[in-house]
Subunit: 480 residues, 2 copies
């Protein structure tokens, strides 16, 4: 290892020493995210935003394939509009930012910067929906929203964050429930297939559900440190918002009916999940499907004749084969470039120097396993494709193993505590369904209910907390 | 014409009767844009946002081909940061929205909602740029910005609008000037090639330039009513912002230097230009290159066996050939569908009924000329492609002719007035360069200086206003 390489790698705190500091180091050194001069707001730097663009493209295609269309709502909500649905305003009012002045004049009515846009979509739907022919409405927007959080962390919790929010309106309760589940499944598939993150699908408890929803579904992922991260949610509103906003349509029998609605969202939080599920002590580790750069070409002895031109030629060939490729031509030694490419999480590295060129070969190095492969240049496209696909699958497998080996069962709260303090991870335990037990568990263990999973198991007959009969199994965990 | 068709078309005010009302009718009936419950803020409806998405995709590819990377800055600017560059704050402070409270607490420092993000990028660059190796920085973001306008109109002027803002930092004044021009040319090419809108390229006068810029370049388009629309701007900041924000780098000789910066933007305003350059009394007319739906298939007698399945088959084939296609399967008569598709500006219509199927043909109708073509089904992909390309070129030609026949020259202010009141359009006239004459012309004619065009002509020796010697020819016009 070259001197520079060592130094670069040593700059990242070991995740076993201090996971939180490791996370911050990766975010900062891979230049994903920077702090801004606005307290609690972050800057998505090009490397971080490029990941978000990949996620946007991937999700957007999947949304559109289900009939969803994009639109753009205003970023402001008049105070009166926010207050129309009682539970909703109670949930969000404590954490919104208020605009009180436009230019030099005080506004007649305060405007909040949207923390989420249910009220705006409802207001719009009330005007647009008249007949069953106008249904369903399947809209989505990509935007940022603002919630005035006290403590913030890059990607995980910030006062402004980027997301998509889908808002749909349907003729019947069945249709809105189906759409809620459809979008949750879409999120789960996307996480597994593209982000290589396995997730638990389930329903939130009454305590944890979205303000104003009838039911909230969630996908929960497990981070490397054993903490959970809620990675996407899908809400079934029933006709609650429709009644608050008067969204009615005439059905085929000419009767007036309320619509049934859903909303669903995934945010830049998910980038935090990518970092904390896949990263290691060398830095970031990006799944090939969503890595903005999939292959980095590192020329060795690049001042020797032919090395840079061969690197450019390989870039050309690999790009033509459909890969996202970059050449690191910087005036740095190879050791530095290797460590740098690993720190930035690029899935596959191609090393090529004068000797390699002479032998008609290159060295390919996997980011995930550090395995090296000597590959004949004429086969480089095929081999790179195979390796990238292996990396994608192996990263998913590794994450799946981690999830499995860090999912436990418990029959008492003491057991829960001991697991959370030592082995760390998800705990499956039975629950009687009472808010009292949910609160008590949180107080005693620091773990919240993550979800009532769709895949139920029978751990025991009794609630882990009160010992009364319990029919439902819940995933519990300490969470970001 | 069927009864329904007539009715639909009659709903759009004739552009000769009331151009402003025609514009509003098109915007509303084509469902591009809706008013929101926030005064002065608009909703981009799916049909309008889809056009914006096409523009985003097209421009974004062109930006990235020049090395630009995307990022995301916060939407808020602390008051102190906004005030760092004197001219800039003077230009924008009167029209910004202020956030004063987060949750239930008053903020220690007010935050404005970004009217533009120079100050945020400068703050970031000050931290990120140290050495000549860090240059150039070529960043862009797609977002919405807020300017508290008094009077608003859909797309043309609203309190919140969507745009992209590019912000670059360079080692030298030459480089920043080159980038400013490069982006202006990129915008002009995009307008002509994709939007079929010819533009005049030039420099803004001192009076009209961006707050804080050394030079502002602009592309100006001419609407159907003879009014101008500023359609994109590119600003050269020199080292003005760098000095205000202390953005310095060490050059190759280890000397400390200020960077030179640019910024450039195109907004949803440009959708207003598409409407007002191409639209007619039947409604919207979209250039095929950026039409979200390029081909609409209207089944005739769709309840007859085989019509809907043949329509679906044609959709499949045309989609596979790379076109954006939709079938109008609604339970409406053909006349309504034809008028509806024209009103929504879809470039090419395919009409297919039982007789056509029997004869192995379909009718293709151009939106721009209403020309009809009987086309053998086996040739439909080729013919559709040819027609779409003809439409694109002919729309550009038509817009070019309109621009040429509505560009006049004048040697006196009286001549200017008379042209602006009767024929309407751009006026080329000489200018001495004084602010007094510029103001006087505006007062007397209502026309502002649009730009000092790069392509200069010699109209006369003297300023159109004061009669003193004048070396520069200026485009003048009433403007949106």
């Amino acid at each position: 290892m070259a001197e520079n390489e060592k130094k670069l790698v040593e700059d990242i705190t070991s995740m076993d020493v201090d996971f939180a500091q490791w996370y911050t180091d990766v975010v900062r050194k891979a230049e994903l995210c920077d702090y801004s001069s606005v307290k609690g707001c972050m800057i998505l730097e090009p490397a971080g935003f490029a990941i978000w663009e990949m996620i946007q493209n991937g999700l957007d295609k999947r949304f559109k394939a289900t009939g969803v269309e994009n639109c753009a709502m205003p970023m402001f909500i008049p105070e009166g509009l926010l207050q129309r649905e009682k539970d909703h305003v109670e949930g969000f009012a404590p954490e919104v930012a208020w605009v009180t002045h436009g230019g030099y004049e005080q506004l007649q009515e305060r405007l909040c910067v949207r923390p989420t846009s249910e009220t705006l979509f409802c207001d719009y739907y009330e005007r647009k929906i008249h007949s069953y022919r106008d249904l369903p409405k399947l809209l989505n927007q990509w935007c940022s929203v603002v919630r005035w959080e006290k403590t913030t962390r890059p990607f995980l919790r910030s006062r402004e964050f980027w997301w998509q929010e889908g808002h749909t309106a349907h003729a019947t309760a069945e249709e809105s429930r189906e759409r809620t589940e459809q979008m949750l499944n879409l999120y789960a598939d996307f996480c597994e297939q593209e982000l290589a993150i396995p997730v638990i699908k389930g329903q939130k408890t009454e305590k944890e559900k979205f303000a104003g929803a009838e039911a909230t579904y969630t996908i929960e992922a497990l981070m490397h440190d054993g903490q959970a991260l809620q990675s996407g949610t899908s809400h079934d509103f029933g006709d609650g918002f429709a009644k608050a906003f008067g969204i009615q349509y005439t059905d085929r029998d000419n009767k007036l009916q309320y619509v049934h609605q859903t909303s669903w969202g995934v945010s830049t939080r998910i980038i935090g999940a990518i970092i904390m599920v896949h990263g290691d002590n060398d830095g970031l580790k990006l799944p090939p499907h969503i890595a903005p750069v999939q292959i980095i070409i590192c020329p060795i002895m690049q001042k020797k004749e032919g090395v840079l031109s061969k690197s450019a030629e390989l870039k050309e060939r690999l790009s033509a084969a459909g890969f996202r490729v970059r050449v690191d031509e910087r005036d740095k030694n190879p050791g530095f470039k290797f460590a740098d490419s690993e720190m930035r999480g690029i899935p596959l590295r191609v090393e090529i120097g004068p000797k390699d060129i002479q032998n008609g070969q290159a060295i390919l190095v996997r980011r995930d396993t550090h395995e090296k492969f000597t590959v004949a240049l004429e086969e480089i496209e095929t081999k790179a494709g195979e390796l990238l696909e292996s990396i994608q699958q192996d990263m998913l497998e590794a994450a799946r193993r981690h999830l499995e080996t860090h999912t436990f069962t418990a029959e008492t709260v003491d057991e829960m505590k001991s697991i959370l303090d030592t082995e760390k991870g998800f705990i499956k335990a039975m629950w009687c369904g009472s808010r009292e037990c949910e609160d008590a568990i949180k107080d005693q263990t620091g773990a919240s209910s993550r979800c009532i999973p769709f895949d139920q198991e029978h751990i025991s007959d009794r609630c882990v907390c009160c010992g009364k009969p319990a029919a439902r199994m819940v995933y519990w965990g300490r969470a970001y």
